[in-house]
């Protein structure tokens, strides 16, 4: 026995190609690797039971997921470990995207697909790798479709790839070269299921002629090196703890009762950032604050709205769903909130909406645009100077704390004009 062989009895039917493949894989591994520095990842299907046959570390996971699981073991593992995933053609059907992703990233691992033309564990149904003409439990007249060519797919990603069969005298060498490659390598091995596919296809599938069967379907055998210059994927974390920046409460707000304010406008009017500035100013004024933004998932078009609750105490933030003040800066904003404004809310509209909308009791001409980008801020600057919510210096201070530049200058000007 070589160093990778295990004394446990193997589970496979007499004559099954998995015997040959596993023996050759154990042999190839033993020539170059150590079991305690090798991880074999298998999944579901007859070949998935191979883990019991190995003395290296093994992980027996879910159907078709072994390339993804092996990818993570490879990308977070120690230097000098060999990671091998072993799956069947059924697993390679359900898990095709995992194979392509591991190849796309060029994860440092070897994937071996034992393609015995059917799902042997569930009664011999055809898979996405079954060759044309092959009779299976689900293709009794011979499969009339076409198979995935995993080697061509791998070629588009530039990774090392090989196709061979359990009948090939070069199987061990192909496995060895693939295992020694640094980066992703995939080997498709055509094999025989003696219980189903071999019995049903005596004319077309024989141990000696397996590669011819691939060839007849236009799937050539052979090994292809990876494209030059490909680097294996490496995960190298550098933990950077987030800077939760606190702000000092230095003022006293005149507010005695909770208020709820809606600022509703359009994408591009600075609604969210302006509401954020107002809320930050409320925080340094000693208020409890809750802000909730709302906008379409496409973000850059349509309405943009911010709901702000401000209260002397936390409980006041959840006391009511009714707005005390609604600021509307565009037709989008009006359309967004017209179903719930009214009642006791004071509705303030941007000047140019006068005549466009009709709300009983609303006031107009509260503020002017100051350019599209600054519209939201013009609204909250107006609110700051026409309500008793913020400490008088608070909004100015939050604007002054912004990074220097044109935006800060415009906002400073608007604050000064509104006071």
């Amino acid at each position: 026995m070589n160093s990778f062989e295990c004394a446990l009895p193997d589970p496979w039917c007499p004559g099954c190609g998995h015997h040959t493949l596993v023996k050759e894989l154990q042999s190839a591994l033993s020539r170059h690797f150590e079991p305690h520095r090798t991880v074999l990842v298998t999944d579901i299907g007859c070949i998935g039971m191979a883990d019991n046959q190995f003395t290296c570390h093994t992980v027996h996971g879910l159907h078709g997921r072994s390339p993804a699981l092996a990818s993570a073991i490879a990308m977070t593992g120690r230097e000098g470990f060999k990671i091998v995933a072993l799956m069947g053609d059924g697993g390679a059907s359900i898990g095709l995207s995992h194979i392509l992703e591991a190849a796309r990233l060029n994860v440092d691992m070897t994937l071996i697909i034992s393609n015995n033309q059917n799902y042997g564990m569930t009664g011999g149904q055809h898979s996405a790798y079954t060759l044309p003409g092959i009779v299976t439990a689900t293709t009794d007249a011979g499969y009339d479709g076409r198979p995935f060519d995993i080697i061509s797919l791998a070629a588009t990603l530039g990774v090392m790839r090989a196709r061979t069969s359990t009948g090939s005298s070069g199987l061990g060498l192909v496995l060895e070269r693939s295992l020694l490659h640094r980066g992703f390598s995939v080997v498709e091995v055509l094999s025989l299921c003696t219980t189903y596919s071999a019995k049903m296809n005596r004319e077309t599938l024989s141990p000696a002629g397996l590669e011819d069967s691939f060839g007849s379907a236009g799937l050539s055998s052979g090994l292809h090196e990876a494209s030059p210059g490909m680097k294996p994927f490496v995960f190298s974390p550098e933990v950077r703890h987030p800077n939760l920046k606190s702000i000092e409460v230095k003022y006293v707000s005149p507010l005695k009762q909770p208020v709820r304010i809606m600022l509703a406008g359009s994408a591009g009017q600075g609604i969210q950032s302006s509401a954020g500035l107002f809320c930050s100013a409320a925080v340094i004024s000693g208020l409890e604050v809750d802000m909730c933004g709302d906008y379409p998932v496409t973000v850059g078009k349509g309405f943009s709205a911010a709901s702000m609750a401000l209260s002397p105490d936390v409980d006041g933030l959840s006391s009511s769903a009714d707005y005390t003040t609604v600021l509307i800066t565009s037709q989008d904003g009006y359309s967004y909130c017209r179903s719930f404004i009214g009642g006791r809310a004071a509705v303030v509209l941007e000047r140019s909406l006068e005549g466009e909308v009709s709300i009983p009791g609303c006031s107009f001409a509260g503020f002017s645009l100051h350019g599209r980008r600054n519209t939201g801020f013009a609204a909250i600057a107006w609110l700051a100077s026409n309500s008793s919510i913020l400490a008088s210096e608070a909004l100015h201070e939050m604007v002054a704390a912004l990074p220097a530049g044109a935006r800060r200058e415009s906002l400073m000007r608007i604050v000064s004009e509104s006071l």
Binding site: L8, D51, H57, S71, A72, L244, V289, D290, D294, A321
Partner: protein, 376 residues
């Protein structure tokens, strides 16, 4: 003068998780959980996955290497993670999933708050095997509960869920930084005996959790198996040995390691308001409102949804005659789980439930006043 943060739950969950040692995050974007993914990218610990099925495989593989692994998703993504959660539970792989609820079913309404995943979070594993499900009751709590969830996953070698919701994660609020607590860090126990005595599912601690063996090049074979297995992790058909290994998965841990509820108990109160998640803000305020208006009411915000901490809840029930369970889903889902525990004795148990809108304290207090007026 005091200090405040003006921040959201996503930032606080990320911060708490990182403090708890999370060093691997696999992300797939989904509203309203994406900002946690973004925070973990900024923290330098994230890889992107092409789908949530892959996310679970990445977390599993990283955890096998000893990483403290985490992801964040919402309902649709969580359903895709179902098979991986079951496998991680069976293989006893520590990992943390932050499940940020939004309105379902299916893709539902991605930006609408909801608490509709509370039973799905727990009952996603075939056979009813338990997943710890923790839940922050405030923004400050996001930090501590993220920490606790990672701790539970590691100490119990299990997938663990931090259940929260869109309002908690995306709303920005004034937050008191002095309340951002950090529990003691818990690690998975490593195999300490002679390597040849290591059994992947055999060397148990007093919580019934097997010792962990990293893939560090030691001369000892490490095996994991998601299918039914024996103590050596060899796949086996169901037998008495397999039954013993499998049954143990129901009984890992001790209840003392799970965070108790936050409570605001009014002496002699006959009304107890129970809630969880962001709804605790309105429910807690409703209890205060009722008490101020002369009807004493206590409040209990549950932070360990599963396992149900019976003693923790029971301790708040002494004088209580009416229990109101407040949650944002259509049928009062968590109420069903609590009723199944049979711990309310002779109390009348009511549901205050709403789908697709945020409950307010005034509304909750009005419903309770109405019910109580009817009772009297």
């Amino acid at each position: 003068m005091s200090e405040r943060l003006f921040t959201d739950g996503a930032s606080l969950i990320a911060s708490g998780a990182l403090k708890a040692g999370v060093d691997f995050f696999a992300g797939y974007p989904i509203t309203p959980a994406s900002s946690i993914y973004s925070a973990m990218v900024r923290a330098g610990v994230a890889v992107s996955a092409p789908d949530e099925i892959t996310v679970m495989q990445y977390l599993t593989g990283a955890s096998i290497n000893g990483c403290r692994a985490m992801t964040a998703t919402s309902g649709p993504g969580y359903l895709l993670m179902a098979e991986g959660l079951g496998a991680a539970l069976a293989m006893e792989i520590p990992l943390t999933v932050v499940l940020v609820q939004r309105l379902g079913p299916a893709t539902g309404s991605a930006t609408k708050n909801a608490q509709g995943d509370v039973l799905m979070a727990e009952h996603i594993i075939s056979g009813g095997f338990p997943l710890p499900v923790l839940c922050p009751s405030s923004l400050e709590d996001c930090h501590e509960m993220a920490f606790h969830t990672v701790n539970c996953a590691e100490a119990l070698r299990t997938p663990a869920v931090l259940l929260t919701e869109k309002d908690m994660v995306l709303r920005k609020r004034s937050v008191d930084p002095s309340l951002l607590r950090e529990p003691d860090i818990l690690h998975r126990r490593r195999h300490a005996g002679p390597p040849e005595q290591f059994l992947p599912y055999g060397s148990l601690d007093d919580r019934g959790v097997p010792a962990f063996m990293p893939l560090d090049g030691s001369h000892v074979q490490v095996r994991y198996t998601a299918s039914t297995h024996d103590e050596k992790a060899i796949l086996r058909n169901f037998s008495e040995t397999v039954r013993s290994v499998t049954e143990r998965l129901f009984n890992k841990g001790d209840l003392s390691m799970f965070p108790e509820s936050v409570k605001s108990l009014s002496p002699g109160a006959e009304i107890l308001i129970v809630s969880y998640g962001f709804t605790c803000y309105a429910a807690g305020a409703a209890a205060a409102l009722l008490t101020r208006s002369g009807t004493a009411a206590s409040f209990l915000g549950i932070r360990t949804l599963f396992p149900v901490l019976r003693d923790d809840l029971g301790s708040a029930l002494s004088d209580v005659k009416s229990v109101f369970i407040v949650e944002e889903n259509h049928t009062g889902l968590y109420r069903k789980a609590l009723l199944a525990e049979g711990l309310f004795g002779g109390c009348a148990v009511h549901s205050i439930a709403a789908m697709g809108r945020t409950l307010t304290s005034a509304e909750i207090a009005a419903v309770i006043s109405g019910k109580e007026a009817g009772r009297l």
